[in-house]
C-alpha cells in the first residue's frame, strides 16, 4: 500500500503487538527529499488512510528516512 503510493520506497512494517493492528512502519523514499518530517509522515499516513478509516489499522507509528541522505 505504501509502496504503491511512493514508488521505489523501501518499507518495513513491524507488528508491535502481534494483533496486526498496531504497526510500526519504517519508510525510506527518495520522494522525502526536501520535505520536513511532518510532510514525510503526511505522505505515508495518506497512503494508509483507507486502512485507518476502516479500522483494520488502529495505530501506526512512522519513521521516515531518506535513502541517500547521510545522517
Amino acid at each position: 500500500m505504501i509502496e504503491s503510493a511512493l514508488p521505489g520506497a523501501e518499507v518495513e512494517v513491524v507488528d508491535e503487538t502481534g494483533s496486526g493492528d498496531h504497526l510500526r512502519a519504517t519508510v525510506s523514499a527518495t520522494q522525502f527529499a526536501g520535505l520536513t518530517r511532518i510532510d514525510q509522515h503526511r505522505l505515508v499516513r495518506a497512503a494508509v488512510q483507507p486502512r485507518m478509516d476502516d479500522g483494520s489499522i488502529h495505530a501506526l507509528s512512522i519513521k521516515t528516512r531518506q535513502p541517500e541522505a547521510g545522517g
Binding site: 518530517r37 511532518i38 509522515h41 503526511r42 507509528s61 519513521k63 545522517g71
Partner: protein
C-alpha cells in the same frame, strides 16, 4: 464537519502567542497519555518554555481545528513558531538528532535520550485514566 470558528480562532491566537506550543492529553504536570508524557519529557530536558493545552475536554472539536490548520488530527502535537513540528515520534527523533534544540533555540542537553532511564523491561504505562 467544519471546525468551530471561535475555537479555531482561539487556537490560532495561542499559536501566535507561544513560540512553542503543545496540544496534549492531560497537563505537563499530569499527562494522561504515554505519548504526551514523552513529549513533555523532551521539552523539559530542553528546558524550553512552552504553552500547553489539555485536549481531552474538547477532543473532537480540536481534532477538527488541527485538521484544518495542519492536516493532523492525532495528539500530541508540538508547534514551533505556529508550524506543526510533529507528534511523539518526530519530536523524539528530532530531539535525539539535535534538530529540535536548534529549532527552538535551546541548548542540546549533554545526554539526549528521549526516553528517561527506566527499569529495563518495564512496560510503559499510561497514568490512571479519569472516567466521567
Amino acid at each position: 464537519m467544519p471546525a468551530n470558528p471561535e475555537l479555531k480562532q482561539k487556537v490560532e491566537e495561542l499559536l501566535g502567542e507561544n513560540q512553542v506550543f503543545l496540544f496534549m492529553k492531560g497537563t505537563p504536570e499530569m499527562p494522561r497519555c504515554g505519548f504526551s508524557m514523552r513529549v513533555v519529557g523532551v521539552l523539559d530536558q530542553l528546558g524550553v518554555e512552552y504553552g500547553a493545552v489539555d485536549v481531552l475536554p474538547l477532543l473532537d472539536p480540536l481534532r477538527e481545528v488541527t485538521g484544518e490548520l495542519a492536516d493532523w488530527r492525532t495528539f500530541p502535537q508540538l508547534y514551533v513558531n505556529g508550524e506543526l513540528v510533529g507528534g511523539c515520534d518526530i519530536v523524539e527523533e528530532m530531539f535525539e538528532s539535535g534538530e529540535l534544540a536548534e529549532l527552538v533555540g535551546a541548548e542540546q542537553p549533554g545526554e539526549a535520550t528521549a526516553t528517561p532511564p527506566q527499569a529495563p523491561g518495564k512496560p510503559q504505562q499510561s497514568p490512571p485514566m479519569q472516567l466521567g
